[in-house]
């Protein structure tokens, strides 16, 4: 390390040390999910894999992951995506996609977490694989939050029941930033039968999108 020319004498107890005069530069703090959770992001192998499979830079990476999720059944979050975004890459497994949506490295966007809930709510999801990947990628608090939300309206639904039973709870995070349980469901105030509430967990839509640019 090269010290700058100017130094400040360190006078306490006449210790002949000097402190290099450093110019503090304000670094913009990214408003990530990790910051909302009060967590520290790790160096994620999954994030690296997603970068490689997509060829997309970090700025657009969450959008690409969301686009993949919509293409595979997170239909509730369908929108018009930028046509410059690469198409879905089937090499990325459903479990990897779901966990990638929950990575704390992304700029905070609750839609990603809600899309993860929908894309993983299918019998095609391997619960054991999801549990292991969630632990590896430090997503336990987010996935447990979804799993607990599912317990209100669909307590038997997998993979959420397995996640509640097997995911460790040692990893603590602030959960108040995560979507309210009502954001993972469809609910009505009125039904054809009249007044009354009908609440339904948002399941993965097995119908593929017809127009790739309008997923």
């Amino acid at each position: 390390m090269t010290l700058p020319d100017r130094t400040i004498p360190f006078q306490k107890e006449s210790v002949p040390a000097t402190i290099p005069l450093m110019k503090l530069k304000e670094q913009p703090l990214a408003f990530t999910l990790a910051r909302r959770l009060g967590d520290v992001p790790h160096i994620s192998p999954l994030l690296r894999r997603v970068r490689q499979l997509s060829g997309v830079g970090d700025t657009h990476l969450p959008l690409w992951i969301l686009r993949c999720a919509v293409a595979r059944g997170a239909s509730h979050y369908r929108r018009t995506f930028d046509t410059a975004l690469p198409p879905d890459n089937p090499i990325l497994t459903r479990e990897e996609l779901g966990v990638a949506l929950c990575l704390s490295h992304h700029t905070f966007d609750p839609t990603l977490i809600r899309a993860a809930a929908q894309i993983l709510s299918t019998p095609d999801t391997d619960a054991a694989t999801l549990v292991h990947l969630a632990m590896m990628e430090r997503c336990e608090p987010v996935l447990l939050h979804i799993a607990n939300a599912a317990s209100r309206t669909a307590p038997e639904l997998e993979p959420w029941r397995t996640l509640r039973a097997t995911l460790p709870r040692r990893h603590r995070a602030r959960l108040d930033a995560l979507p309210h349980w009502s954001r993972f469901v469809l609910q009505t105030g009125y039904t054809p039968a009249g007044r009354g509430q009908h609440i339904q967990w948002l399941m993965c839509d097995e119908q593929p999108a017809e127009n790739p640019s309008d997923l």
């Binding site: 520290v40 790790h42 160096i43 192998p45 590896m136 990628e137 430090r138």
Partner: protein, 97 residues
Amino acid sequence: MNNPLKILQTFDRHLTRPAELTIFGRSALALGYPNPPGDCEATLDVDGIIPLSSGEPDEEFWLAQQANKELRNRGLYITHLFSELDIILRPLPAVHP
């Protein structure tokens, strides 16, 4: 079975040149101290800090993470790696009766 030892031996086998990693958490207790609490050796992962001097993990380091595929059938893994910029290690607070 000492899980942290198994994890690091597997990881080491996948490395082709030396890499520096600061171990912390239960795996550090299991490996660095005599008579650690029983659950330390049973931990499923190794938490590590990549020193600033090592820079960003290079391709070779990432390839060594293929060790996780080998560890998968035992439920073990080594993915909780942090940059030295993000982690502050503190001693355990003194406990007074």
